[in-house]
Symmetry: C2
Subunit: 208 residues, 2 copies
DNA sequence: TATTTTATCTTGTCAACGACAAGATTGGAG
DNA sequence: CTCCAATCTTGTCGTTGACAAGATAAAATA
């Protein structure tokens, strides 16, 4: 009850956060093409020009939203990996599950994060957040094949990420499993994940 | 010299085609967010309202462009598969190469085709073109593992597509191999492809 | 405490956009 | 030759992102 919404606050006080929150919701509701600064301002109860004092342009707001998305993504991956116990392969699967779960819960944001446009408004914070998620994945893959050569490791990092990312991307776009139940879809995702891990293990010298 | 551009043609004659061509170029130049109907009209040398007689809305034009993209994609996949000889596994790799080559040559269009927005302006022609590309892929995968069960086949179709699509998607967004030479990048793509095919063969019972 | 500074938010404006309406031009059907 | 229908034009509307200039209130200073 400290500085909440009494009637109509003088200066709002937390516009930046409000804009990010409203923007994130708007993004999921209307898609990237339906996303407008003015609607964000409207939802935050401020005038159309107020956001300019916190974000230089609409791309700046999108960059901030994408950056937070990466933070949430790494959090989801970490949490799900931890739940999956100590085995390296199981943790890799768990991280993949976390990755897919985040994407499924935030489809438009996920598409924004990995869109070509996102590369255009590249802020340092966005690049750092993306790199952080990448390293998380890289380490999980390398832990599965610790004895493999650096080259094989690199290729398996590529391959594992591609399989996970490709699967959930195709699902989100409606190309894969459009008429499956959520349950069946999750099974398909897990099948893709385990096929991926098997391939990694095998390529890393752990096969037979 | 039949109905080309003499001075300023009466009715243009081929506006629809001109708009699609201009739009496709504009899309690659400016990205989806920089794509405007009026700029397409400008490049086709017509007034801002002329496109309305050929496309009901901007989404209609984008849908048409995406549809042609799918046609070109299937053509690229077919051509590259044919070049790769008669072995089913080699042809699957070839199709993947064609897939990636198309995406690399038309990055923004590719992103549009597989974007969430594309699902929104879903025309019958677009859906048919997309389904056609899907079936091409499905058959190529199934040809590699003809003796596998239907369930395994389905999962390997998922998996193979996910690996190819995921890899090229990550490359296009700059997440993978951003500072590799085109040559090195192609090698990474081929490595991902062969890891995928190996996994498919093994899962399909052709292993050992 | 009183005054000044500064961040924040407002209203007002601009060019560009997508969409629509109404009128002009032209190729082809009768 | 006449009329029709498709095609293209000009004109307009509401909305958008960005900018400018002024108002408000919090914070810094004296």
């Amino acid at each position: 009850m400290a500085r909440a919404k009494a009637e109509k606050p003088y200066h709002h006080g937390e516009l930046r956060e409000a804009l990010v929150a409203a923007g994130r919701k708007l993004l999921e509701e209307k898609g990237l093409r339906g996303f407008t600064l003015r609607e964000c301002a409207r939802r935050a109860q401020v005038s159309h020009a107020a956001p300019a004092h916190h974000f230089a342009s609409i791309d700046d707001l999108l960059a901030e939203i994408a950056t937070r998305g990466y933070h949430d993504l790494t959090a989801a991956m970490t949490a799900e990996a931890r739940r999956s116990g100590g085995d390296a392969a199981a943790r890799l699967v768990g991280q993949g599950v976390g990755y897919m779960a985040f994407a499924a819960a935030n489809p438009v944001l996920f598409q924004l994060m990995f869109s070509r446009e996102a590369n255009h408004f590249e802020t340092p914070a966005l690049a750092a957040a993306a790199k952080s998620a990448y390293h998380l994945h890289r380490e999980a893959v390398e832990a599965v094949i610790p004895q493999a050569s650096g080259d094989v490791k690199e290729r398996m990092v590529d391959f594992a990420w591609a399989a996970v990312h490709g699967f959930i991307t195709l699902v989100l776009e409606g190309q894969l499993g459009e008429r499956d139940s959520p349950r069946a879809l999750k099974a398909r995702g897990l099948a893709a994940l385990s096929a991926m891990v098997e391939a990694v293990v095998r390529a890393g010298g752990g096969g037979r």
